[in-house]
């Protein structure tokens, strides 16, 4: 797509701004540097893809952005508030009100139906959409009352997406959302993410090791050894249904 989706700190308030993020696990000899100084800006309505091999630090970055983890050093600002100095309660509130997560393994609550899994979030959110509507958005309007065990993998992941976006989050973070799915199913899931991005203008970050998926992003960040070593702006975004691998 065109220039208006590119980052320009001057005229838009950024959704997320990360500076000098590092993350070190362990101590002494077993120290692992998962992030080695990452800077990142996310503008409203962007859809970025983080691409990289396993161990490149992309999940760590996403977890920090989503308030699931804290960096060893560096700063993250969310809508100009310092996320990195939030305490646990504030981080919980941040996740509850502003962030939607989608994981590789769908993490649905087995004892709740599709609709109830979504209601789980809408009950505690501020201005959620009706759970039925969220499920319609991901194409599951007909399977509201099915339990996770009665749904296919792709369907479960779409419930997870519906659950993530039902609160109308400012930020949708997807960690390998198609990693456990075959390609036709994966494409259905990506279409759901695409549709939500288009209709709700939700700022979205998606992690994958599959470079084909990068084509649907407005911006692609390549990660290696805990750093962003390459940044590509797609001038044209390919629709998800055209992807194949």
């Amino acid at each position: 797509m065109s220039k208006e989706n590119l980052v320009s700190t001057a005229d838009v308030e950024l959704v997320l701004q990360a500076r000098g993020l590092t993350k070190v696990y362990g101590f002494g000899e077993v120290e692992v540097h998962a992030l080695r100084g990452v800077d990142l800006d996310l503008a409203p309505g962007e859809l970025i893809v983080l691409l990289g091999a396993s161990g490149s630090g992309k999940s760590t970055l996403l977890n920090i952005l989503g308030g699931l983890d804290t960096p060893s050093s560096g700063e993250v600002r969310f809508l100009d508030k310092p996320l990195t100095s939030f305490d646990d309660a504030a981080l919980t509130r941040y996740r509850r009100e502003h962030v939607g997560f989608v994981f590789q393994f769908y993490n649905l609550i087995p004892s709740l139906t599709a609709l109830e899994n979504v209601s789980l979030v809408t009950e505690i959110a501020r201005q959620p959409m009706p759970p039925e509507e969220a499920l319609q958005l991901v194409g599951l309007g007909a399977r509201l009352h099915h339990f996770p065990a009665q749904l296919s993998g792709g369907e479960q992941q779409r419930v997870a997406i519906a659950r993530a976006i039902a609160k109308r989050p400012d930020l949708l973070l997807c960690d390998e959302p198609t990693g456990a799915l075959d390609s036709p199913t994966a494409i259905l899931v990506l279409q759901a993410i695409e549709r939500i991005h288009a209709e709700l203008r939700t700022t979205t970050a998606l992690i994958t090791h599959n470079s084909v998926i990068a084509d649907m992003a407005s911006r692609v960040l390549h990660m290696r050894d805990g750093q962003i070593d390459q940044q590509i702006r797609n001038t044209t975004r390919r629709p998800a249904k055209e992807l194949s691998w």
Binding site: S59, N63, G66, L68, T92, F105, S111, A125
Partner: protein, 789 residues
């Protein structure tokens, strides 16, 4: 075939699950500890008593007479079967202890003047024996000295045969005859109000006009001699001198009480720990089964590597045996230590000069076998189930349970439930077996608590019926000899006395067919006002105008029923042998009494009415004046206060049974904590992913805790009524099996006991949930979510 790596895995798994391992260990340990404690305490008391009796030459046969010339002793010593015979003077006296307002009952026992004692030897605890020629030196029983802070050199005033005497304490001692130092007519030993004094024979003979005579004889038997033959021969010799019948050691008061108490403890320490161990075994079983079911995918993996079923089973067997060994070791240590502690407590109470605590291995071995058995059974079932699956299937998590919308979810109430509550309810509903086992586990803890509490309730009830409802006298004065009614009635003129009621007690041997039993006949007015005959239902009984009203315990011992005629051999006066019909049988909790209407007894004895004790109702303001007057009265053998009896009963129970029961309370709590902690930990490991997801979705720690703890709360709520019901049934069962000659325990369970049991279990589960909640707070969100389901 032993894989070092597998063993390493074993130790690491044990360490990783240390919380749960410890919880299961504690469950086992409580069952085992209770058993070891109970059995070893009883064993120790039994052994101590035996050794004490043997070392201090406790006599085998005893007899009391009015007055027998000294030369009879050689006749008795010459009887076939007799090893040693010793004659003494034994009398009662009222004592006055400085600073103690109530009169004290003293038992005066003579020490031979010329030789050392040969039977019923004293253990001198301080000071020395009195000099044979002194008539003012006395050795007193150690517990009595302690109760009054009396020391060597101190003084006691005593009414000896109607005259005040001052006695100087030269020593303190213990005697095998007074292990259970119980005063006349009392139910419990009371060291403040009853004491034993040993004086030189000459002094006592002089004081009680028994020069050249004795009124008490003890005999030890040759090995193989029949006590019964010796008793009959002694009775023939002593009859003419006012003998009231020789009796064997089993009927000696202190020993009878002691043996009854040990028997009572034996029953208790068999029943309660058995219940406990069974419960602990059951819980170990279910908890381990659940723990192992978490290992399902690992079992599949091991099979995929090529381990065979036997190897896998052995691997997990070792895991379980390690846990079992921990539980057993903890149980042994706790049981041994508590057994020693308990033995010491009882040792003080029973006045032994030494204690033998050498628990036999039996208790330990039984406990260990049950413990290992329960653990292995629980685990192996699950291991077998997992090992029999094809590896690929075992490695996958078990098929997700089919959650369905429950019928109730259609109702409006259910519609309003928030999702978290819905999760809890579905979780509980979807795993019925799991729900049931946890529920049953908690319920069992409630049940054992209730059965423990039932003892306290039962005793309260006994005290209430026996001392508070049935009796309303304040003071009972017992005469040394039966007195005429007129003399007795003068008691009414003592200061502060409002009502008097006479009682006549006649020592007798009761016989029916081949069965015989020494039991005094208690003669009371037809309708009693102060000292009432109550049956177990709490109804006051009117004595029939003729015949005996006997307790069901006595009826059982003699094998009689209503209408049968009992042969009563009266052991005093003209020593009549009477045939008395049983006019009624009633149920009572304490002893095995036989009552008869006072005029009926006088008619049978062909004498005018006499009394042996008077029950008095006293104006409380004038009680101290009355006690001072009573101390001065000659020819009283005992004075007892009902209030003191109640206090003593309560104190004694507090020192014995309540301590015993409180251990059970502690162990019940351990059970409850163990079960709930494990249930919560397993839930946490099975559903960690779910909890992490919710945290990621923005649920707070409190909300997640609600999910887990709410489930436990719900299970506990379901378990409580179940536990109350089980406890009720269990208590009934136990009470039915508990019966000694001295006590029958009524089945009484107060509402408050259910209440306390529930409160304690709620607190115990709260403790374990707090422990688990700390883990929930540390849940690693990322790690959990990254792993595959």
């Amino acid at each position: 075939m032993v894989s070092a790596t597998l063993n390493k895995k074993l130790w690491r798994d044990l360490w990783r699950m240390r919380g749960q391992v410890l919880a299961i260990g504690l469950i086992m340990a409580s069952g085992i500890g209770v058993l070891v404690m109970g059995l070893s305490t009883v064993e120790a008391l039994d052994e101590t008593a035996r050794a004490y009796y043997q070392r201090y030459r406790f006599a085998d046969v005893f007899a009391q007479v009015k007055r027998a010339p000294k030369r009879l002793l050689s006749d008795i010593a010459a009887l076939p079967g007799v090893q040693t015979a010793e004659a003494r003077v034994v009398e009662s006296a009222i004592l006055d202890i400085e600073g103690f307002q109530e009169p004290v009952v003293g038992r005066l026992v003579s020490l031979p003047s010329t030789t050392n004692s040969r039977l019923n030897l004293l253990t001198l605890r301080s000071g020395q024996m009195p000099a044979a020629h002194r008539d003012d030196e006395v050795v007193i029983s150690e517990p009595f000295a302690r109760a009054h802070s009396l020391h060597v050199g101190g003084k006691i005033r005593a009414v000896l045969n109607g005259a005040w005497r001052e006695l100087r304490i030269v020593g303190t001692a213990l005697s095998p005859e007074y292990v259970y130092a119980i005063g006349p007519g009392a139910l419990m030993p009371d060291d403040r109000r009853f004491g034993v004094l040993w004086l030189p024979e000459l002094a006592l003979q002089a004081a009680f006009d028994l020069e050249g005579a004795f009124n008490d004889v003890s005999v030890s038997l040759l090995r193989g001699a029949r006590a019964r033959d010796v008793i009959e021969a002694m009775d023939r010799i002593l009859d003419r001198y006012g003998g009231i019948g020789a009796y064997e050691r089993a009927d000696q008061l202190s020993n009878w009480f002691l043996m009854n108490e040990i028997e009572q403890l034996r029953t208790l320490s068999r029943i309660l720990p058995t219940v406990f161990l069974a419960v602990a075994a059951f819980l170990t079983n279910i908890v381990l089964a659940r723990l192992i079911s978490l290992e399902r995918s690992e079992i599949g993996l091991l099979k995929a590597f090529g381990y065979n079923r036997r190897q896998i089973a052995w691997h997990y067997a070792k895991f379980v045996l390690a846990i079992g060994a921990l539980g057993i070791a903890l149980g042994w240590i706790a049981g041994y230590w508590l057994g020693w502690y308990e033995t010491k407590l009882y040792g003080e109470f029973y006045h032994f000069p030494f204690l033998l605590y050498r628990p036999a291995p039996t208790a330990f071995v039984i406990a260990a076998l049950v413990g290992f058995g329960a653990a292995l059974l629980g685990a192996m079932r699950t291991v077998q189930a997992a090992a029999s699956l094809p590896p690929a299937e075992a490695m996958r998590p078990p098929a997700p349970p089919m959650f369905r919308r429950l019928v109730i979810s259609r109702y409006a109430v259910a519609q309003r439930l928030e999702q978290l509550t819905r999760i809890i309810i579905r979780q509980v509903g979807r795993w019925p077996v799991r729900t049931l086992t946890t529920c049953v586990g908690i319920a069992m803890a409630v049940a054992v608590l209730i059965t423990s509490f039932q003892w306290l309730d039962a005793i309260d009830h006994m005290v209430d019926v026996y001392f508070r409802q049935a009796q309303s006298q304040d003071v009972t004065m017992t005469f040394a000899e039966p007195r005429s009614v007129e003399v007795a009635k003068s008691a009414a003129r003592l200061s502060g006395v409002r009502t008097v009621e006479p009682m006549r007690v006649v020592p007798a041997k009761l016989r029916f067919g081949s069965r015989e039993r020494r039991e005094s006949l208690q003669a009371l007015p037809m309708k009693q006002h102060l000292y009432r005959v109550y049956d177990a239902n709490g109804t006051a009984l009117t004595l029939p105008p003729d015949g005996l009203m006997i307790s069901s315990m006595l009826a059982e011992m003699l094998g009689v029923s209503r209408g049968d005629r009992i042969t009563a051999e009266i052991l005093e006066g003209r020593r009549e042998v009477l045939k008395i019909p049983v006019a009624g049988i009633f149920e009572t909790y304490i002893g095995s009494p036989a009552y008869i209407e006072e005029r009926a007894l006088a008619r049978l004895l062909r004498e005018s009415q006499t009394v042996s004790a008077m029950h008095l109702r006293v104006d409380s303001l004038q009680l101290s004046g009355l006690l001072a007057e009573l101390k001065m009265l000659p020819r009283l053998s005992a004075i007892s206060l009902r209030a003191a009896n109640i206090q003593m009963f309560d104190e004694t129970m507090a020192r014995t049974l309540i301590i015993f029961v409180s251990f059970f309370i502690v162990f019940s709590c351990v059970l409850a904590v163990g079960v709930t902690y494990n249930a919560a930990r397993i839930a946490l490991s099975e559903r960690g992913r779910e909890f992490a997801t919710l945290r990621v979705l923005g649920f707070t720690r409190a909300e997640i805790s609600y999910l887990l703890l709410g489930e436990i709360a719900l299970l506990t709520a379901m378990a409580l009524p179940l536990g109350c019901f089980a406890g009720h049934m269990l208590a009934r069962l136990i009470v039915g099996g508990f019966k000694t000659e001295l006590y029958r325990v009524p089945f009484v369970l107060e509402g408050s006991s259910y209440g306390w049991a529930m409160i304690i279990i709620i607190l115990a589960t709260a403790v374990s949930t707090v422990l688990v909640r700390r883990r929930l707070d540390r849940l690693d969100l990322i790690a959990v979510l990254k792993t595959r389901e």
